[in-house]
Symmetry: C2
Subunit: 112 residues, 2 copies
Amino acid sequence: MSYKIKSRIWIESKNNVFLGEGRVHLLKAIQETGSLSKASKSLNISYKKAWHLLDSVNKSAKKPVTINSIGGKGGGGAEITEYGISLISAFDEINKSCWVFLDEQLKKIERI
Amino acid sequence: MSYKIKSRIWIESKNNVFLGEGRVHLLKAIQETGSLSKASKSLNISYKKAWHLLDSVNKSAKKPVTINSIGGKGGGGAEITEYGISLISAFDEINKSCWVFLDEQLKKIERI
DNA sequence: ATTCGTTATATTTGTAAAGATATAACGGTA
DNA sequence: TACCGTTATATCTTTACAAATATAACGAAT
């Protein structure tokens, strides 16, 4: 039976979590559904939790990651900015390359 | 204000956690104190939690990581094996190299 | 035989995170 | 104006996990 190495990475800004796997999942779901409430349903998390996650992302970000609108056609919605799209793909890249890196490093354990 | 990238790595065996930062901290404390109860006190965690952590390590490991003795001189104690010492240093190496790797990767976010 | 400080384990208690619920505000549309 | 589905927010409830507590078993030393 061989070992598996797992990881969890996140980015902090001023001691607050800015981006992590959960937040990136949420951003992707917003991108697909066009609204925070639909995104929360698709991820099976409460709206409240989703809202807090998104709020923390936008508060830590240097530029807006989503544009949220209240009222109007369809009641409103949330839209990912270009900046947000870039963040998602950069985070995914880092995460995937980290997995590759760690799989290689795991050999240090396996050869003991 | 710049970003910090953080990580948490762990090694699983058969869907159980084998080694992680908490478990490695515990092993180091056992190495220093010679007993599980003293180690748990030095880490400010309950004996119960420490015992479960150590138990999971030894159950997942291919060879014993500690030798635990009940009763006898001083009431007993726990001792790290040579194999355990090797695991600790290998894990630390992987963890540190992961930090270096991720700090470099963070530039992908910062230059957006 | 008694004492000692452990390991080992079960049971109870406390607490912080998650979830559920409720409601206000909003701004297009009809 | 009334309606709609959304964002935004507060408050209450639940629940999972951590912590505290209690106790048995152990074996060397005295």
